[in-house]
Each structure stands twice: as structure tokens, then as C-alpha cells.
Symmetry: C2
Subunit: 127 residues, 2 copies
Amino acid sequence: MTDPRFEDGLLPVVVVDAWTREVLMVAYTNRESLDLTLKTGFAHYYSRSRRKIWRKGEESGHFQRVIRILVDCDEDTLLYEVEQEGVACHTGHRSCFFRTLDGEEIAPRVLDPKEMYGRGKGNRRGG
Amino acid sequence: MTDPRFEDGLLPVVVVDAWTREVLMVAYTNRESLDLTLKTGFAHYYSRSRRKIWRKGEESGHFQRVIRILVDCDEDTLLYEVEQEGVACHTGHRSCFFRTLDGEEIAPRVLDPKEMYGRGKGNRRGG
């Protein structure tokens, strides 16, 4: 068993589609949200802006079933290989990385964000 | 043009192989190392432990030619698609993500780290 180094209490998590290898998003986890992920099999993260743990998809229904968790050489970054329900990005794009640094969109919006939310309470960012 | 939000001066960078899509590593950049990356076409990062900018491969010769840079929806994380010379990890593995959280190695060491370094000055971590 590795022993991830939760510096400042948080680790970044790179989230990739387990089958296509596409990088879907980057989020942060603390020990509690990692434990919830391991226990439930669904990705939980720590929201730095809301200062709380959230289950990915709790607002949008776009859950992430975690297939495998990797840790990097320094044990300060995690990689989740997931089955993504729907889309990962709150904008309606499959991945949060849908633009180049120059601003060119390289991937289409596949869902209307207005129809992704509003079925629950709380903040919609990344939900 | 997007305007990345350099909170605390640093942004995380997910580095993927431009052709295989494999996640190779995660590093950090500030505005100066991003500018150096754009200007030279080779990945430069900011080392949090050494508190300095470094060019990936400056010790090992394992440079990263940057093919494309993506930015995420919140503009607080970058993704570099690179052509990786040699290996990305200082351990001699192709990717820094070569173990599961349980400690199982899922990818072979392809180079002997003893033979990767020692040709220059400085710290060998990630070099």
C-alpha cells in the first residue's frame, strides 16, 4: 500500500476516461473524500471554493465510477481511471479540457448545461 | 486567448503523451516557465521543492517537445500534449503513474535511473 502525502490536506487528482484515456478533469481530494471514493466506488472530491466534500454527479447525475486509482512516483498526485456517466464538465463538454491556450475550441459541447442542473440543491460548478 | 489564473503563482500541468494519450506526469508552472515553454517549444516547469524554474530533461536529456497546450474550463489547470524523449519519470518508468494506490506496479521500469543522470549539475528529481 502506498501512503499518499496529503500536503496542505489536499492532493490533485487527474481523472481520465478508463477506456478512451481522455483526460476529463482535475480535482482535489483530502483523506476523507479518498476514503469515501474507495468505500463507495464513486468519485468524491474536496471543493476548494465551497470548502466541502462533494460526490461528482450529485447535482448533474454525471457520476464517475472509479475503475482504478494510480499514484505517482512522489505519492503527491493521484490518477483516477473512471467510467464517466454523461459529461465531466459543467459546461456540457465531455472533458474540461476543451480549449487550447489560444482559446480555440477543440471539442464540441455535447449537452446543454441548463438541462444538466436544477434538479437538486447546492452549487452547480462541476456537479 | 485564454487568461490562465495563476493562483498562488502556480498552476498544475497534466502532461500527456501526444500520440498514446498516456498521462506521463503532473508538474507546476508559473507565468515565466509557461512563457519559456511557449517561446522554446520545450516544457519548462517550476519546481516547488527547489524553488526554481527547470527545463524538463536538462539533467536526463529526456526533453518534452510541446505539441499543444490545453486549458480547462476554470482556466486554473493546463494540459500539455508532448512528444516525450526517453521517459518522463526519474525512476526510469515511462510515466510517473506506474503504481496503483495498493502499491502494485502496472508498468515496467524501462531505464536504469543510475544511467539517466550524472551528466550535469543540480538535483536529479524529475530532471
